[in-house]
């Protein structure tokens, strides 16, 4: 297993990595280049790569255990936005059991697993690359570069453009949002990513615009392809 944190600031990912004390390679992608290379447009997503360095599954939602958030009771009396957020989180489809079973099958059986795709199938199943989605990547990368070398304000116009060009890319959005919604001095990035003065979007409104939590992820297609 190799984990990749899509964090432009390694200091944001490091505490989580340190706390986990992983025995596997735990890497950080500060430029989100794995979006262009593999198609990671949300988290968690994963690709499977065989012993020869060939992908056998494209980027898909990757959970191997049911999140407790799905079974949480929504408390009475909480603010409406928070209630709506929790409702959408609970509506995100849970494929964890099926994904775990498929993964274990591939671990045990390798290329003989019905869940291992052929190279042509993997390419065909990967996300379509449109001019807008590619341009969004260029804009996000420009923003990341300027954020690092000039300052945050220089990045914002490019990140706004990236969000508009590729609204299905949640990594571009959430990475940018958290930088403005996280209070100064906070020890962890803000996960709520609510309305702010910098970007027109926020997590809840964008999720609702996309059709709700049921459309939030690129679901793994786990019907055996062979």
């Amino acid at each position: 297993m190799v984990t990749v944190a899509l964090d432009i600031d390694p200091a944001h990912a490091k505490p989580w990595i340190d706390a986990a004390s992983p025995t596997h390679p735990s890497l950080i992608d500060t430029t989100h280049c794995t979006n262009d290379l593999f198609g990671f447009i949300n988290v968690p997503m994963a690709v499977w790569i065989d012993e020869n360095g060939v992908l056998v599954r494209p980027a898909e939602q990757a959970s191997i255990e049911r999140s407790p958030a799905r079974d949480m009771q929504i408390p009475d009396g909480i603010p409406d936005r928070l209630k709506q957020m929790m409702t959408e989180v609970k509506s995100i489809p849970d494929d964890s059991a099926a994904y775990r079973a498929a993964l274990l099958d591939w671990v045990r059986n390798g290329s003989a697993s019905p869940y291992a795709m052929t190279p042509d199938e993997v390419v065909e199943a990967s996300r379509p690359m449109s001019h807008d989605s590619s341009l969004a990547g260029a804009c996000f990368a420009m923003g990341e570069h300027l954020n690092r070398t000039v300052g945050h304000d220089a990045a914002v116009p490019y990140w706004r453009r990236a969000h508009a060009l590729d609204p299905d890319n949640w990594t571009y959005k959430r990475q940018a949002w958290t930088l403005v919604t996280t209070p100064e001095g906070a020890t962890e990035n803000d996960l709520m990513q609510g309305p702010n003065d910098v970007y027109s979007g926020n997590w809840l409104d964008d999720v609702l615009a996309a059709g709700g939590g049921s459309n939030y992820y690129v679901r793994a297609k786990l019907e055996p392809p062979k």
Binding site: M1, V2, T3, V4, A5, L6, D7, P10, H12, P15, W16, P25, S26, L27, I28, D29, T31, C33, T34, D36, L37, V43, M45, A46, W48, I49, D50, E51, G53, V54, L55, V56, A59, A62, W106, P119, D120, V123, E124, S126, P128, M129, H131, S133, S134, A136, G137, A138, C139, M142, H145, L146, T171, R174, Q175, W177, T178, N189, D190, L191
Partner: protein
């Protein structure tokens, strides 16, 4: 993919984009896209290569940098199923990682984030 010039060494273009300039064109894995004029004396003309590969270019004139989008030439995020391991990934201590150390093993690469 950030460049400070539109004429870059072929090795730099390959390391940054994953596309190698060869006599038959711009290549990635087993896929090659004809790109006459992209390579000259070991230097890649970024504009020509980008045009042939369908890579949008964003230019920030104030700071003198260009950003290249992913190739659209194949219409999919993946031009090939051969994994392209980026050299830019670092560990929590800022050190690079050599994916060659995992050769011969099955890998699940999982993306997550602190946000």
């Amino acid at each position: 993919m950030i460049f400070s010039s539109l004429r870059v060494p072929a090795s730099e273009f390959a390391a940054t984009t994953g596309w190698e300039a060869k006599p038959q064109g711009m290549c990635r894995g087993e896929v090659c896209v004809p790109a006459p004029g992209a390579l000259d004396s070991g230097v890649v003309n970024v504009e020509v290569a980008a045009e042939r590969l369908g890579m949008p270019i964003v230019h920030d004139a104030d700071h003198g940098v260009w950003s290249l989008g992913a190739a659209m030439a194949m219409g999919r995020t993946l031009a090939t199923a051969v994994a392209q391991f980026p050299s830019s990934l670092i560990d929590a201590m800022g050190r690079g990682f050599d994916f060659a150390s995992l050769r011969g093993r099955r890998i699940i690469m999982i993306a997550w984030a602190s946000w």
